[in-house]
Amino acid sequence: MTVAAGVGYALVALGPALALFVAVIAKKPFLILTVLSSTLFWLVSLILLSGAWKSFLPLRSTAIWPYAILLLTSVGVQEGMRILFWRLYKRLEDLLNAFADKMSKPHLFLTDKMQIALAGGLGHGVAHAVFFCLSLLTPAFGPATFYVDRCTQMPFFLVSAFVALGFVLIHTFSMVVAFNGYAEGHKADQIFAPAVHLVAAMLTMINLTHGGCMIGLPLLGIAAAFTLQYCWRMKEFPDLPVGHLSDHVSTEDAFLIHQSSKLSGATVGANLMKLVTELSASFRGKQPATPSTNKIKGMLDKLINAK
């Protein structure tokens, strides 16, 4: 039973990442390499951070501010890593385009760039899930479970799995937003990724209060959903079905549609999430049903019929 629970925790944390990996990443070897290198980047940032904080740990004080400083520095270092990763990617893109010229193949498509960004983000997210959730899961396979004093409602492993799930989504899709922002020079998109990362990290501080995990986890989930929503919304929804993708039909929309046309499970999930958020917004009357909602409905019908 505990083995089942352990596997369940792991799947809660890494299930969406696994779906994305199988549906999108695994088909192109280059994307696998991107995931691996981005995971390595994240690991290096974590090691740098732990080296810097070694002398201050463990934080025994009950005050909040040491944790706040820790989170601020951590997010700062990791966002620095993101910029470094972007610089490297930029060079790599030039190399790849030169290589494509040599092989007399077309340059990188927009979808390719999006996929590289997605793979980079997935690497960050998976690294988070692996180091903050999966590597602590070993005792979960044993004969008992573990609760922390501050959160008596659910086991520690479940909390960390949910937190990891949130961060996987946030890291994955904020990387797409950030890369798009860097490429097109959108200030808002560039700031979005660090902002949502910082907010999500600060939200986990709610867990420090007694019983705070019941509030912190849903809020983190909302942050993750918001990231997905933002990533989705970056450009206007193009017409279906998509044949050829031109450069101005940009960003995640194009990418998702491109993938949806291949009936990939992960993006169907993302579409569903988008649909749910939009529908709930329109039910509350805050927002009229948008054309894209109808389009998604049509698309989902198509998908279901196709299956």
Binding site: T39, L40, G51, L70, S135, R150, A164
Partner: protein, 404 residues
């Protein structure tokens, strides 16, 4: 949509990385499920067992660190000296054209590894999970397993997948045996082997360098246990679903060969005084032409991959990775698995990135390169960084449920 460059880029790198990853994963699983060392495995686990890797010094947990270090260094030196001696012996045999003897010896050692060491792992699995299996069935299964393995190692006509699977199996079995070594000895041994690998492949007069040059001047395959990412033209005359056009001579002469490491383990347990010898010569060979990413226009090969008919312009031969690299990567990860999962992930990433660096260097240097030094160095550095710095940090932070 036209195929973009991303579709095929890096296939060869992944073709080498995925079996290495599978090998490491299985070793970690075996190490994990069989529990701490010296609990179940019969092989080198008995206290006081003398093996080739612990010739000089038997580590006991009570010894002071200085003594452990000294003993471990001596052990590593002895082992590397042994390896070097056996490599020179192999070189001599090859020089005087004892190729058949070498091949048969390889077959014999593969049989021995699969049969006896694989058997001991199988036995400990049976014991650990209390599986009822009668000895006759077990013996028949094991014998068949070993025989098919031997056939697949050096004969043509075996599906490449089977051959690759047996190579990975050999790597796993030897690596699991190596994880039985004491901790300090393991680390010094890994570092020493990395240094030895560097010297033997790159230094003028290094045994593996000589061996590779000899083999390429004769245009023969090395009589060695080597993982092939793709079937080879000379040994694999289009039997499977894969076929390649014969290479033009000019391309063949630009072939790059790697011989990495050759290891011999002489192990004698107290129980039965049996002598186990394993020999594995690792070699990497790949012609890499042109671009640094590892994709080249060699000759145009038509390849029917399992995913359908794909017309790709690809290298004439796949990258080859020596079995010893499999073994020692897995030993490092398996040793890390005895501490914590976190160190496993860190070491895995370090080793894989080291392998990637080596492959990129290979496409730049275009001659035999050792695959161990970069990976092992990175792996050891990351292991200790993770263990000393990262683990307290991550556990401390995440146990208070603050994450980022």
């Amino acid at each position: 949509m036209d195929p973009s460059v991303l579709d095929t880029l890096g296939i060869d790198i992944i073709g080498v990385m995925s079996p290495v990853s599978i090998c490491m994963l299985l070793v970690v699983l075996i190490v994990y499920s069989l529990g701490p060392p010296s609990s179940d495995l019969a092989a080198g686990a008995n206290p006081g067992a003398t093996t080739a890797a612990t010739l000089v010094y038997q580590e006991s947990p009570a010894d002071p660190p200085a003594q452990k270090l000294e003993g471990a260094l001596l052990n590593a030196a002895a082992f590397v000296a042994l390896v070097a001696a056996v490599t020179f012996l192999l070189l001599l045999l090859y020089y005087y054209n004892f190729t058949n003897f070498l091949k048969n010896y390889m077959r014999f050692s593969a049989f021995f590894v699969l049969g006896s060491m694989g058997g001991s792992i199988l036995l400990s699995f049976l014991k650990h999970f209390s599986v009822p299996l009668d000895s006759v069935t077990c013996a028949i299964l094991l014998f068949n397993f070993a025989v098919v393995g031997v056939l697949s190692v050096f004969s043509a006509g075996v599906p490449i997948l089977l051959r690759q699977a047996y190579m990975v199996a050999l790597g796993i079995i030897v690596a699991v045996w190596f994880t039985q070594l004491p901790e300090w000895t393991t680390w010094t041994l890994l570092m020493a082997l990395a240094v030895y690998d560097l010297v033997a492949v790159l230094a003028p007069g290094g045994p593996l360098k000589l061996l590779v040059e000899l083999a390429s001047s004769r245009e023969e395959e090395l009589p060695a246990l080597v993982y092939e990412a793709r079937p080879n033209v000379s040994t694999r005359p289009a039997t499977g679903s894969l076929e390649l056009q014969p290479l033009p001579q000019s391309v063949r002469s630009s072939a790059i060969e790697f011989v990495n490491l050759e290891a011999e383990i002489v192990e004698s347990t107290n129980a039965d005084r049996s002598l186990v010898e394993i020999e594995s010569v690792e070699e990497e060979r790949s012609p890499l032409v042109g671009f640094g990413g590892g994709q080249q226009t060699g000759s145009t090969g038509r390849r029917n991959s399992s995913s359908g008919d794909v017309e790709v312009i690809e290298m004439t031969k796949g990258i080859k990775l020596g079995l010893g690299d499999f073994v020692f990567y897995s030993v490092l990860v398996g040793r890390a698995a005895m501490y914590d999962l976190m160190t496993v992930y860190a070491c895995y990433l370090a080793i894989i990135s080291g392998l990637g660096c080596t492959l990129i260097l290979l496409s730049i240097c275009r001659h035999a390169l050792p695959a161990l030094p970069i990976s092992i160095t990175l792996g050891v550095i990351f292991y200790f960084l993770t263990r000393l710095l990262m683990e307290p940090f991550v556990v401390g932070v995440s146990s208070s449920l603050v994450m980022f």
